[in-house]
Amino acid sequence: MRSATPSIREGLGRVVEKLGNLPAEASLDGLTVLAIRDYSLNYNTTSGPFEALKSINLEINRGQTLGLVGESGSGKTSLAWAIMRYLPDNASEVSGSISLLGENLRGKSHQEILEIRGRRISMVFQDPSTSLNPVIRLGDQIAEVLVRHRGLTPKQALTEGEALLATTGITKPAEMMDRYPHQASGGEKQRVVIATAFACNPELIIFDEPTTALDIITARQILDLFDRLREETQVTALYISHDLGLVSRIADDVAVIRRGLVVEEEPCDRVFSAPQHQYTRDLIAAVPHPNRRIASPAPEESASDLLNMTGVSVRYGETSILTRIFQPDRELTYGACDVSLNVRLRELLGVVGESGSGKSTIAKVLAGLQDFDGSLRFNERVFATRKSINTDYRRAVQIVFQNPDASLNPRQKIREILSRPLKLYKIVPRSEIPQRIRDLLSKVLLPEEFADRYPHQLSGGEKQRVAIARAFAAEPELVICDEITSSLDVSVQASVAKLLVDLQRDTGTTCIFITHDLNLIRQLAHRIAVMYRGSLVDLFETNEAENAERHSYTRALLDAVPVPAGTESSPSP
């Protein structure tokens, strides 16, 4: 459905486009590429209109990067959709304008928007595994943008696409063009997505949390790539993230958004040195910083070991006869390989690694959920198999899981969930159970009335507190926390971490804290263990983290996790 006769201006515009982007002239600096003025957006829901964005005023100048920081539900993603003009049917734009180089996007027809998308504004998405079409080759997915907007032939597009892949740091671009998404790693896929976004030299690129779904080291590489491309192309970028610390490294200006309102908009260094709004200050305080310790006092050097793991390995892929007949290609994989670790009494031991490192496998072994080879020594008793783990051990060792939505039985009230360990281990006589439940709830800073609620009536952070309360209800000697803060918002993360540390200090419980967040663990832990591909590669006191004798992988991790800019000098608030 082509329009009948393109206007002369459009025709001229196309000629200019075909010649390539206008060079960055000095006179164009300071040019406002994106201007959002008094923009408000509602969603019409069954329970009335929901104000997603309220009077947003933002500007991005040419060559600048604006970091938009907000937690879940803040509306940051809605803003991205609004700019791309990809709003759901129940969205109604109440007021305001969104302008690209002075042209009001709200007034454009659908056809015009299609011309703009991918060509003048493009987007890099959060999860490369889902934003690439699984049945189309990567090369074709880059090429189609070039064919569509730059008028190249398919063959030219493929060649150009290969060149673009090379600029994003892919070592064998020709091979990558031929692959399907499932044949590429997360980092490689994200580079393809970034290449596609840059392909038509757009005026504005929106980055929607591009590193959130990636491993630490890969995330750092993508971040570096973004930095380099920013330098080279002077692209104008809107970088959306929930991570204030991360944004501080790469943005020129930072806007903080909360519940649809922009509460702060400053140049980056001013945001950290002189935050205006209380929420910003809270966010800054919540960002984990290694120099801000929240740990309980360290146990003495000579403290005895509570637990010893010796030569623990976990093999997956054991086959029964039937499986061997029907699936002979199943390989043996190792979840953990010959791990030997000691846990000192009353310490908080951090276990750090990326996904697939085996840290969760170890947690499951210690919680008695996973068969293993090797031995565990706990309280003078040695356990060589999962089956030999007895009730005493299970009472003394408790685990808290990552996903708050799945760790509580949705059909049980909080009261029932908390009373289970009390009844099972006969911690208190029946008559005292209600009181004990009240005590537990108050220890995790939850109101008493929550005892009568169901899990779905609680927020993620509240559910996680209940899970922690459940673990401590058994009066354990060791609590294993498997990425308990990873699914939570930044501000909630900090409070849950602090809660754990307080509980540990008050009860003298030993704690193993598993996470991928190095900055967080350096705040909390006394010692840190580093895992990589199933093996334990490093174990050190927290204050020795930056010593020279650290394992190369540890150093790579430390390099990959930047300490938030502008916070080096700020002491704990």
């Binding site: 998308r117 998405f125 690439l132 699984p134 189309i136 943008v145």
Partner: protein, 315 residues
Amino acid sequence: MSLGYLTRRLFSVLLVLVIVSFAVFAITMILPGNAAVMILGEYATEDQLLALAEVLGLNRPWYIQYFEWAGNILQADWGMSLRLSLPVGEVVGDAFWNSASLAVTALVTVIIVAIPLGILAALYRGSKVDLGIGLFAYVGTAMPEFVTATLLLVFLAGSAGGYLPAGGFIAPNESFPGFVSHVILPAGTLGLILMAHIARQVRSEMSDVLASDYIRAARLKGLRERTVIRRHALPNSLAPAVAVISLDIGYLLGGIIVVEEIFAWPGLGRLLIYALENRDLPVIQAITLLLAAVYALSNLFSDLAIAALDPRVRY
């Protein structure tokens, strides 16, 4: 697609067929009365029954009978029909091709109609088109074949103002127009419930695809909606569509029994009803095994088709 996978799947099919044959054989063992009674009838004397049972080998242990029977089957000796005094192979063979012509016609019609309907419904989700197709789907899946057949017959065939023959069969090689006029009603009946079900499933699959992140990404690249549907959405919904169709072949094989009976179509279904009513065991066993084999093989083919369509599936 590795040869190893293919072999393993074929082995699976074989295993399933063995289990089915066992079940079929077991059922006939549970039968009140045995083959001797069937042949000689109710009024035979005790002695006659015993004598015949001896001749037929019915007094031997069940596992010996089973292995002999299974062995015969594998050597393509399907036995003799108890009622028709003809080799089972012959009788079933003819019926098989007649059923095949009906089933294939129905299946092709279903694929041509139902898949586009489902896709349309997903593309225009929430519109009147979608509601209409949805209504058709709900009604269609609620009508047993005999109801559809009866209603179609009443309105489209029959003595007063009938447009189509009410039953019977003409082979395609004898007279193609004749074949077509006779196949319309039975294939339509068979196809209706399948069309309804498949359209609904395809709609649901396609809706999922359209709501996916990669479709959103494609749209945000500025691609025209036509391109998005054609290049991005459709290829992803083909594999699930194949899966649904292969599941529904089971319904097809069941429906064929009733449809052939009503329309006097001389296929396996009609033969089966006859055999069931007359307790013609060898025929019953043969047809059951055959239908189960067809179903299992069609599942295998659909797995192969899915592997060809979806690059992520690598066996």
